[in-house]
């Protein structure tokens, strides 16, 4: 099975490492490839952490959207979640002209916790996965879910209350934190679902 990581910008290597380790734990043979312009024949796609505005500036939004609507499962983390969301705004700047893929039935507030000084690490209980160490770096918050989006974990976000930290919208998985920095359990969960 070939898993692609959208490698235009962000912590691509960390996801590569986590995916390989997760596959080894599962005893599954996978090939991890970096994709930029063409998706090729990947059977799942990872959207890494990074800057979502950079993804928007560089990615071929039309091509990606078509592939995802055609059934390509996506695992999105942090900036990837912003890029995959239907609705996005920024906590300070407000509405942005950013192009997104508009796939997940969620509303995202970028930089919801504030700046880097408000970044943090915590433990979360994730339904179907268990307890994980979660690293939030200038993280977005999922302030609203509807339709097929199903929250698997919640986190307290100042000003917004309890917000979804992990969302499953089959076959897609989204986390506003960075599992690739601290655990393989979410990668294992995603690979298992494929």
């Amino acid at each position: 099975m070939k898993i692609g990581i959208l490698s235009l910008q962000g912590d691509v290597e960390e996801h590569e490492y986590a995916l390989r380790k997760a596959a080894a734990e599962l005893g599954k043979t996978i090939e991890v490839v970096r994709v930029k312009k063409n998706l090729g024949d990947v059977s799942a796609l990872v959207l890494p952490g990074g800057e979502s505005t950079t993804f928007s500036a560089l990615a071929d939004v039309g091509q990606l959207k078509k592939a995802i609507e055609g059934g390509l499962p996506v695992f999105a983390t942090c900036a990837g979640v912003v890029f995959l969301a239907r609705e996005v705004r920024d906590r300070v700047v407000g509405s942005t002209r950013q192009k997104t893929l508009g796939v997940l039935d969620i509303e995202v507030v970028r930089n919801a916790y504030g700046r880097q000084r408000n970044s943090f690490e915590t433990e979360l209980e994730v339904r179907e996965v268990g307890r994980v160490r979660a690293v939030f770096i200038r993280a977005p918050a999922i302030v609203k879910t509807w339709g097929r989006a199903e929250p698997l974990a919640y986190v307290e976000t100042p000003g917004f209350g309890a917000t979804a930290a992990v969302v499953l919208q089959k076959p897609h998985l989204a986390t506003v934190f960075h599992p690739e920095l601290s655990t393989t359990s979410l990668h294992v969960y995603f690979l298992r679902g494929l």
Binding site: L8, E13, K36, G49
Partner: protein, 329 residues
């Protein structure tokens, strides 16, 4: 090789820097109330990882910052003057105006970095307090301490430092830098020194990996913990995110630095000292992302005109006292 690839590397760093963390705790007990020093390493070292394969652009006002954001920069570096103008103006170069930084924070969504003078704890403290995301302890500004850099362990905010060779890089990491960049020769539009510094760092790491005895010699010669040298040798790269900086002015310059092993690039005067800032910013972002695809780099290079590039300075015409890279070793 991934760096923050794992908890394992972070935990190794934490144990290597145990002594430093002790100093931090002692300072805190003695009543020095720095706001920071308690951020988990995953947060401090994880942040630069999110900037990888991206471009951070020097800006001096909101308008430039918005151009950078629109072009796809992963961050902006706020300065009072672009390095080229620092060079022309002379005098003492200090950190940017707080008001300008705050104004930019209110108008762009990407991370904001700013520079402080080498050794200037209070400029760093100011920037941390107003919420700058990344601090560059930079030789482009006039150093206030010729002997010591800031002990970056006592801050929560991540720091990036410049280096010309592996010794400098590892010294900065042992002082708590969460990210390294080449020094290059800022404000010249000439990438030659950045190339030299990158090759020096990479070359030394390669020679370390071959020979265990060299690890010990290196640790002694550079006065850095042997565990840090050994970790670097084992990873075959610096254990923190490493960007290229200094004189990058064209898409091809950026691609060249990525090819040499940079995790991303800083562009200083190259964009806003050119005649075509938005196109050039876009093209440099594109070339940085697609450096391994020659056709894409050609496409990026086609987006800009050499006639619009900053003129640049031949480094051989600079007097030794005009060099910025020799500040803070």
């Amino acid at each position: 090789m991934s760096i923050v690839n794992s908890l394992e590397v972070l935990e190794r760093l934490e144990s290597i820097f145990y002594d430093m963390l002790e100093i931090r705790d002692r300072l805190r007990e003695s009543g020095i109330k720095w706001s920071g020093g308690s951020a988990p390493l995953s947060v401090k070292y994880g942040f630069p990882a999110m900037l990888k394969h991206g471009v951070i652009m020097d800006v001096t006002n909101v308008e430039q910052a918005q151009i950078a954001e629109e072009a796809g920069a992963v961050g902006v570096m706020v300065l009072d003057k672009l390095p080229y103008d620092v060079r022309k103006a002379g005098g003492v170069a200090r950190t940017a105006d707080i008001k300008v930084i705050e104004d930019i924070m209110a108008h762009v969504t990407i991370p904001i970095s700013a520079k402080v003078r080498i050794g200037h704890y209070y400029e760093a403290f100011l920037l941390e307090t107003i919420g700058v995301d990344l601090i560059d302890e930079s030789e482009v500004l006039t150093p206030v301490d010729e002997q010591h850099h800031i002990n970056k362990w006592i801050f929560d905010v991540p720091f990036v430092n410049g280096a010309r060779d592996l010794c400098e890089a590892l010294r900065r990491i042992s002082e708590g830098a969460a990210m390294i960049r080449s020094k290059g020769e800022a404000g010249t539009g000439n990438v030659s020194e950045a190339v030299k510094h990158f090759k020096a760092i990479m070359g030394s790491i390669r020679s370390l990996s071959r020979d265990e005895e060299r690890v010990r010699d290196f640790s002694r010669q550079c006065q850095v913990p042997i565990e840090l040298v050994a970790l670097t040798a084992r990873l075959g790269r610096l254990p923190v995110v490493t960007f290229a900086a200094g004189g990058i002015a064209t898409p091809a310059d950026a691609a060249l630095m990525m090819w040499l092993g940079a995790d991303g690039v800083f562009v200083g005067s190259g964009i806003f000292k050119s005649q075509d800032p938005l196109e050039r910013a876009r093209a440099i972002v594109y070339a940085t992302a697609h450096w391994d695809d020659p056709e894409a780099v050609v496409e990026a290079q086609r987006m800009v005109s050499e006639k619009s590039a900053m003129l640049g300075i031949d480094i051989r015409t600079l007097k030794p006292e005009e060099l910025l890279q020799t500040r803070g070793l």
